[in-house]
Amino acid sequence: MTALPPPSDKKLGLVIDLDTCVGCHACVTACKGWNDQGYGAPLSDQDAWGAEPSGTFLNRVHSYEVTPEAGPAQIVHFPKSCLHCENAPCVTVCPTGASYKRAEDGIVLVNESACIGCGLCAWACPYGARELDQAAGVMKKCTLCVDRIYNENLPEIDRTPACVRTCPAGARHFGDLGDPESAVSLLVAERGGIELMPEQGTKPVNRYLPPRRKDRLEETAPLAPLLDIQASGFAGWLDRLLDRI
């Protein structure tokens, strides 16, 4: 059913640390790798080795240059995937009921065998989190690795989304954002985690931790006094003489 369930107590989601992300795209690769081999249609590529390669990804890393009002510009790497919104507009627009939000943990999923591939949910998403697979003709989106996080066949350490498990910088965190005492909720509270495009009214579950304020260089360089060399002795006399000529 594409009606949204009442808000669940458990709100599984990601917390992404923009301060720590180094922009290596390992999460992109891990996501594509995992989601090619299990749940649903594989993420296809078109013209993968040709002149115009293109493919389906559930997670993409943008890079932005932020120039504050004062101080030097800064590069921020910005991974973006489904935010598993509480007020998910992609769910309610679906005509077939393929798109749904789970009542138990808030994960937004697509039942691919009911998807007609009309693309309206991708239009309804402000974040670009949904991509229509060009080979299968069905909508693909982040599943929060629902086939990993509850999978008792995996060692416990692997029961997190593939992107979180692989991140070498520790910039991605997975947990229950509905529980104010969870590690992710505490992290969000401590670092002032934010929602993306709150004016869209989607109430996303995922949070982004803004980059920390950078230290600023002192106005005068510490080695500057050493550069002010005063000649003395014979060199000093020459210096003064040459100045006068």
Binding site: E69, I75, V93, C94, T96, I116, W123, P126, G128, E199
Partner: protein, 289 residues
Amino acid sequence: MHPAPSVILFTVFSGLGFGLLAVLGSGLMPVTGWAALVAYGAGYGLAVAGLLASTFHLGNPQRALRAFSQWRTSWLSREAWASVAALALMAPVAASAAFRGVLMPALGIAAAVLCLLTVLTTSMIYAQLRTVPRWNHWTTPALFFGHAVAGGALLAGLGNAPVLLLLLGLFMALAFRVGDGRFAERGHTLATATGLGPGTVRQFAPPHTGTNYLMREMIHVVGRKHALKLRVIAVLFGAILPALVLLALPSGLVATLLAAALHLTGALAGRWLFFAEAEHVVGLYYGLR
């Protein structure tokens, strides 16, 4: 937004078809016999052709029947129901007028209302999207209604068609004017999209060197350079010229066909712009709109 031919043809033809059926069913233009067969036939032909065109952009059209299931929340699903209900209810009205020469005013009006409801549901598919500020406004249903009613009146040969066409021209101009300010009005910027303000934020490197589904579907920048000319063509051909033709020429098949051809040209140009000029907020993330 990508102006996909299937969606342009779908909205223009089905809108025109349902508009014609609404005018015929309402009894404003009572026709019977052969005239009814041709008029209702044209209405059904346009509406069904448009609906069929809409299935061409589906990834899995064989499952299209599932689109009837979510009418409680989805405008697309409501459109499926409204269109089928309108066509089904109009069938006895059309058959009675064409084959028995008897009008069915009560049922006709009910079917006409359903035809207009179908146009409303089509327009709401676009107007509901907060992600496309230009569409997310009452001018979108007004524009779709204007096209359906004026186009339908034109095809039916209704005396008031020139007035309705000029009204449509007004709606088109209004939609262009209001639409231009919608994105800025909403205040969506790359800074709100990323939360990286205050200060200036710009794209440093895209996530990939090529293009992707999102960019192909939501970011259409090609062709906007002719937007102003196309706007003039849309209003001139869609509304003003057909109105003048209907007023200048003696009413009859020649005037109707000439006016219809002009109107269709303008309507297609206008609908192309409706998509090509609409900017989706996801474009912000790509530094493009």
